[in-house]
Symmetry: C2
Subunit: 138 residues, 2 copies
DNA sequence: GTAACTGCAAAATATTTGCATCCTT
DNA sequence: AAGGATGCAAATATTTTGCAGTTAC
C-alpha cells in the first residue's frame, strides 16, 4: 500500500479508516479525475454511496482533492498538489477532457495563461478546461 | 417585446411558443448566466419545471444557449453569440463567477489566451472560468 | 473511553419519461 | 388538420440527513 496514503490523511488530521484509504488509493493510482460514479464502480461495491459523498466532501474541505468544472457539468474530483492547503487551492493547471474516451487528466506542465480582467474585477481562481482528443485516442 | 426573440426561434426552426419566448426573454434581459432554478424563479411560477428542462435542452441542441462549467459544478446557461450554430460553438470568451453575489457573467471582451498542449493532444474547445469578486461587489 | 466514522433507512431534490391535451403553423 | 409543445403524473436518479452501531486513536 502506498505510504503516502496514511501521510496525507494524518496531515489533514483525519482518522485513517479503510474507506478513506481506499478512495485515496483510487486517486493516487488513477492519474486522471474521478466522478462519484467512477469511485463507486472502481471501489468494487465495497462501501456505501453515502460514505463516498461524505468522504469526498471531507477531502474537499481539507484540500486533499479539488473539483473540476467540466463542459458537460458532470462533477469530477482530482488530487490536489502538495501546495494546496485547506481552503486555499493553488490549482493553476489546465484540465483536459477527452471527448473520445471521456477521461479527464490534469496537464500539470501546462501553465495557466494570465487573463486580463476588466477594471474592478478581482480574480482568486482561474480554471481552464480544454476539450478535445487526447494522445491515446488520436 | 424584443423582436430578436421571434427571430432567434425562427432561425432555429422552432415553434414560437409563449414558454420559449419567456425563457429567451430572460436570457436577453439578464446579461449573465442563468441556472434552471433562476429561470424557475424569474419566470414567476408560470410554467412547469419539465417545460424548462425541455426548453433548455432544445436551446442547447440548437445552439441558442450554451452551458458554462463552474467551479462549484452548478449548471449554468448563457446565450450564445451569433457565430454559434447548432453543435458548433465558438464560445471563446471568459466566464466570470462572482463569489460574493454569485452572479456569472460573460466577459465578451476578454479573449481566451492560447494554451499550449502537450504533443498528441488536440483541442476543440477551451473554457475559462475565473472566480473572484466582480466590480459591483468590490 | 471518547470522539469520529460508517452503514442503513428515509427524506428531500433533481431529472427523465409517457401520455393526453393544447397550441403553432 | 398535423406535428410539435406543454402540463401532469409518475418513474428514476441524486444528494442530504438522522441515528445507531462500529472503529480509530
Amino acid at each position: 500500500m502506498d505510504s503516502r496514503i496514511g501521510d496525507i490523511l494524518k496531515n489533514s488530521q483525519l482518522s485513517v479508516t479503510s474507506g478513506r484509504k481506499k478512495i485515496l488509493e483510487l486517486f493516487l493510482n488513477d492519474a486522471g479525475a474521478l466522478s462519484h460514479g467512477d469511485i463507486e464502480k472502481k471501489a468494487g461495491e465495497k462501501f456505501d454511496r453515502v460514505t463516498i459523498y461524505r468522504t469526498l466532501q471531507v477531502f474537499l474541505e481539507k484540500g486533499i482533492i479539488h473539483n473540476i468544472p467540466t463542459a458537460d457539468n458532470s462533477i469530477l474530483y482530482a488530487l490536489c498538489k502538495d501546495d494546496c492547503s485547506a481552503g486555499h487551492h493553488h490549482d493553476n493547471h489546465v484540465h483536459f477532457v477527452c471527448k473520445d474516451c471521456g477521461s479527464t487528466v490534469c496537464l500539470e506542465d501546462v501553465s495557466i495563461p494570465s487573463v486580463k480582467l476588466p477594471k474592478g474585477f478581482t480574480s482568486t481562481q482561474i480554471d481552464v478546461v480544454v476539450s478535445g482528443v487526447c494522445k491515446d485516442c488520436k
